[in-house]
């Protein structure tokens, strides 16, 4: 009984944290963007603009919710939810650390909701579902730019999911397990997978950027050619759901990279594991934001040729070489 209760508490806590994360992330992203472009970023709401995300949230809540007249009303309403659910469901199997003992109750708690036997496969499968929200949102809007955005993202996600999964396989071959906890345990003591799988890391990072629609691969929401892309017709909270999804996807992708390649919660002992974990994730999020404001966007044919002609053969070669080395 107490186990069930504990799982319930963990689900609630993780969901709340993940729900709240986009607020600071939008602020950080805008601040970093500002400073990279020699601006200040948000400054007026609160000291150094720290209350800006709350102001944005309130604004989004009270905006009018517009459904275009020719849109498919049912799909238009359900698409943001379909987009958001997979982004949250992924966290069911993500471990944030090993065991901790609660200080007062003296009870050991696992820092994950479930340690699935099929951990990585589950995450990749669920993450693949997030494309539905984008495609359906684009299609249901019944407008040309969102439709093009949806088409682009479906082609992009199918292409890059291959490279992403193949990059994982190298890690799985080394560790001999699909469970994320096992993968992190196998990396303890500085045996980080990035040292053994540098090519896999680079492929995973690039394909991950494409998978979560970040620059330089944010073709589905290309402002220059598509006018915001698949969510061009969305407003108010439905638009906020799409934004939320993107930031949560960014967080989960950073967490995945940390777990697979950067040793998870492994680190020098003077800090607890969870702190190392959070530090690494924060660093990766910063790098993702940093790349966004450094590189220009790729053209669509370039995106496709990078995915199919470079990343996919490279990841296959990586699997081959890993297999040879292991044998």
């Amino acid at each position: 009984m107490i186990e069930l209760l504990l799982i319930g508490i963990k689900v609630v806590v993780v969901t709340l944290i993940v729900f709240a994360l986009p607020l600071p992330l939008t602020y950080i992203e805008r601040k970093v963007a500002g400073h990279i472009q020699v601006r200040l970023g948000p400054y007026r709401v609160g000291p150094h603009g720290i209350l800006q995300p709350f102001a944005d949230m309130v604004k989004l809540m009270f905006k009018e919710d517009i459904i275009p007249a020719k849109a498919d009303p049912w799909l238009f309403r359900i698409a943001p939810v379909i987009a958001m659910v997979p982004a949250f469901v992924v966290f069911a199997t993500i471990p944030f650390g090993e065991k901790v003992t609660l200080p007062i109750l003296n009870y050991e708690v696992n820092l994950y909701i479930s340690n699935m036997d099929t951990g990585i496969l589950y995450i990749l499968a669920i993450a693949g579902l997030s494309v539905y929200g984008i495609i359906l949102g684009g299609w249901a809007s019944n407008s040309k730019y969102p439709l093009l955005g949806g088409l682009r993202s479906s082609a992009q996600m199918i292409s890059y999911e291959l490279a992403l999964s193949f990059a994982c396989i190298g890690v799985v071959m080394i560790v001999n397990s699909l469970s994320l906890v096992d993968i992190v345990k196998a990396q303890s003591g500085w045996h980080w997978n990035i040292l053994y799988q540098p090519v896999g890391f680079v492929i995973f990072f690039i394909a991950g950027l494409a998978e979560i629609n970040r620059i330089p691969f944010d073709l589905p929401e290309d402002e220059g050619t598509l006018g915001a892309g698949y969510h061009a017709e969305y407003s108010s909270m439905r638009f906020a759901f799409f934004m939320l999804t993107e930031y949560v996807a960014m967080v989960s992708m950073s967490i995945l990279i940390v777990l697979l390649f950067l040793g998870g919660w492994d680190g020098p002992a003077f800090l607890p594991g969870i702190v190392w974990f959070l530090l690494k994730v924060a660093m990766l999020i910063y790098i993702i934001i940093w790349t966004r404001f450094t590189y220009p966007r790729y053209r669509y044919d370039q995106l496709m040729s990078i995915g199919w002609k470079i990343l996919l053969p490279l990841s296959l070669a990586n699997i081959l070489i890993t297999g040879l080395v292991i044998i």
């Binding site: 099929t118 496969l121 693949g128 579902l129 359906l136 299609w139 199918i158």
Partner: protein, 167 residues
């Protein structure tokens, strides 16, 4: 008991969405219902202690096959194809036949010895990836290779068919 409740939830959702798949006019709505149906099936696979199959189901069917369907639907003009009248009067015998078939199947199942097979208390099989993988790569290596060959052929076929002009 809890398991039965879950079974009923998943089964009713699966049957309902399956009916929606064949009865909705708009192919995009059909694809969404099919997605719901497949997800319920994945949940049933988890209940049957085979998580690997469940994940493969989500990965391959929901994550790839249905996205392909959506992609093709969006590339085609479905506006005129969507408005078809599909149960014409002449098709009533099909429904009658299918009903008879279903009745027969249910009768057979209820009168068979299936109820004698009870669920194993603590099974040998846990459905882990390790077990499935070992079986696939030792005992069933030949079918596995044949399937991979079929996939390769399908890949080539799809590329050839998808080209602009057939030479």
């Amino acid at each position: 008991m809890a398991e039965q409740i879950f079974f009923f939830v998943f089964a009713i959702l699966a049957v309902g969405s399956a009916i929606a798949v064949v009865s909705l006019r708009n192919p995009v709505h059909s694809v969404i219902s099919l997605m719901v149906c497949f997800l319920q099936m994945a949940a049933l696979f988890v209940m049957l202690r085979s998580p690997f199959i469940a994940v493969v189901q989500v990965f391959v069917y929901v994550g790839a096959v249905l996205v392909l369907f959506l992609f093709v639907i969006m590339m085609l003009d479905i506006a005129k194809a969507g408005m078809e009248r599909f149960v014409s009067g002449g098709k009533l015998w099909v429904i009658a036949l299918l009903g008879a078939l279903l009745l027969e199947m249910v009768l057979m199942i209820s009168r068979s010895r299936l109820s004698a097979i009870t669920a194993p208390a603590a099974g040998r099989l846990t459905g882990t990836v390790r077990e499935v993988g070992e079986a696939l790569f030792t005992k069933y290596i030949l079918p596995f290779e044949v399937v991979s060959l079929i996939l390769l052929v399908a890949l080539l076929g799809a590329i050839v068919l998808g080209r602009k002009e057939l030479r």
